[in-house]
Amino acid sequence: MKDRRVVRICHAGMEEAEVRRFEVFVRHVENVECRLVDEADADVAMIDTDGELGTYLVRAHRMLFPGRPIIHVSAQGSLGRDALSVWARKPVDPRAFGDAVARALTVASPPVGHGGAAPGAVRRASALAQDRNAERTANLYVGTMSDIDVRDPAQRERASYHAGNYLQGLFESARRFARENGTAAALLHRQDRILTLNANGHSYTTSLDRRSLRSLALIPLVRQDFRIVVGSAREDGPWHPATPLLWELALWAARGRIPFGVPFDAPVRLLRWPNLTRLALTPDAIRIAGLWSGHPTSLLLSARALQVPQRHVFAFFSACRALDLLRLEDAPKNLPASAQPHPSRESASRGLFDRILDKLPGRTSGDAQP
């Protein structure tokens, strides 16, 4: 009995109608059984790179799934090829596509494509956190950066980003444009309208699907390809609230980093809580917010106190900052780290804060930790 190999494939940059045709198409691919799956579960990605945003789609996918082979489907040749890329020339027939899949599997390492039979993780029935565990671990908002040593300027640089280089910055510029001119503002990529903000900057409409928008938001943009012009408030909708998008644009741009110039040692105070039931929830966001609203704490100390990766703290900081929800207090001057920060509430909080400090490695309190 001959086993047909099962390969899980995801796509990017295809319109809905194309996807439906593609679903029919893959049934005729020889030698392998292709299944269209969500991007989180795929063995191989298939990206149509002929669209205006093809290069962003490829680079964003590579950033999010560094080890996954990508089939570039294009009439023109393969974009930004790397060792994990193969090219299928348009128009693609089932045999050629089957070949491309086979090539993609050979460039992949470790080997993939032996069916999706991984036993589902048994979820313990517990707690409120349960529903969101998957959401948290699967989320793509905080990147993969490991903790940095802030004494090293190169590492500090690695943990910082310029919002202006990303869609976040363009979006913020468009919003400013709209408010200053009292008109809708449209963001163009070459001749194509990417999105339009209404005159007060509170809502937007876009021609892009969510994945394309995300791809654009993840990658530093070629600025000269983009322009902000007067837009039309009568643009066909649907119109969406701008705040949740800006929150996500900041997370995508930051990917677990903080804006350039933000001190790592200045206590962070949360002035307003983000509406976390309706915004993308990042790992440990609630605990970080709880800490910063009661006890202004620096970025570094927050990560240590909560025993979470710095990128969780940095990501949440960048998103809150984009929404203007924070204030940086004065960084302590010439004080040992153990002298800051001061809890702002009394009695009940003090015990808590002592416990935070006790948890920090390298503290001078009696029982030092290994």
């Binding site: 409120l128 956190a129 809580w273 976390l276 609630i286 917010a289």
Partner: protein, 177 residues
């Protein structure tokens, strides 16, 4: 070592207190007259809500609510005894939600001062106003600092879970829920 927390749900008539407790409770939410078994407040003949849930670290959270038609003064002391915080549900489709907020915050002033406060703004599907900032402004003006204010559908387990988690994070951000 595990802990037990008691959390209070309050808010105006019909704001969603019973729905919220039912949405997250892992025991069948108890309500109805005389429902005083187990750890629910003894000797009450009121229509209290009670629920319980277990956290990832094994801690238990007990959830208490009282019906909005009872005068606050009649239920407050039973409710708040031993409580670690208050989740105030405000129905944004009522006449004057900001006045409701002010009234309930004032009613629980002493309790809030020594514990935590989270606001869940409900019925957003029926009314998108007042803006969340208006609630936050009002609290800030009253000297409460950065109080978590969230839109929440009390029938939604995820939303209610976030309210609870936020309250626990105020009480002890270092603990993991």
């Amino acid at each position: 070592m595990t802990s037990r927390f008691k959390i209070i749900f309050s808010g105006p008539l019909g704001a969603g207190k019973s729905a919220a407790i039912a949405a997250v409770s892992e025991v069948s939410p108890v309500h109805g007259e005389g429902a005083a078994a187990g750890p629910s407040p003894a000797n009450t003949r009121m229509d209290m809500d009670f629920g319980a849930m277990r956290l990832g670290d094994g801690s238990t959270v007990h959830l208490y609510g009282a019906p909005g038609r009872e005068p606050l003064e009649a239920t407050r002391d039973i409710l708040t005894e031993g409580g670690v915080g208050l989740i105030l549900l405000i129905d944004s489709s009522r006449n004057d939600p900001l006045a409701d907020l002010a009234q309930f915050v004032a009613g629980f002033e002493r309790f809030i001062a020594s514990t935590g406060l989270v606001i869940g703004v409900t019925h957003r599907d029926l009314s998108a106003t007042p803006a969340l900032d208006a609630f936050a402004d009002k609290l800030a003006a009253a000297g409460y600092g950065a109080v978590p204010v969230f839109e929440a559908d009390p029938r939604d387990r995820r939303d209610v879970g976030i309210l609870i988690e936020a309250l626990l994070s105020l009480i002890d951000p270092v603990a993991r829920a």
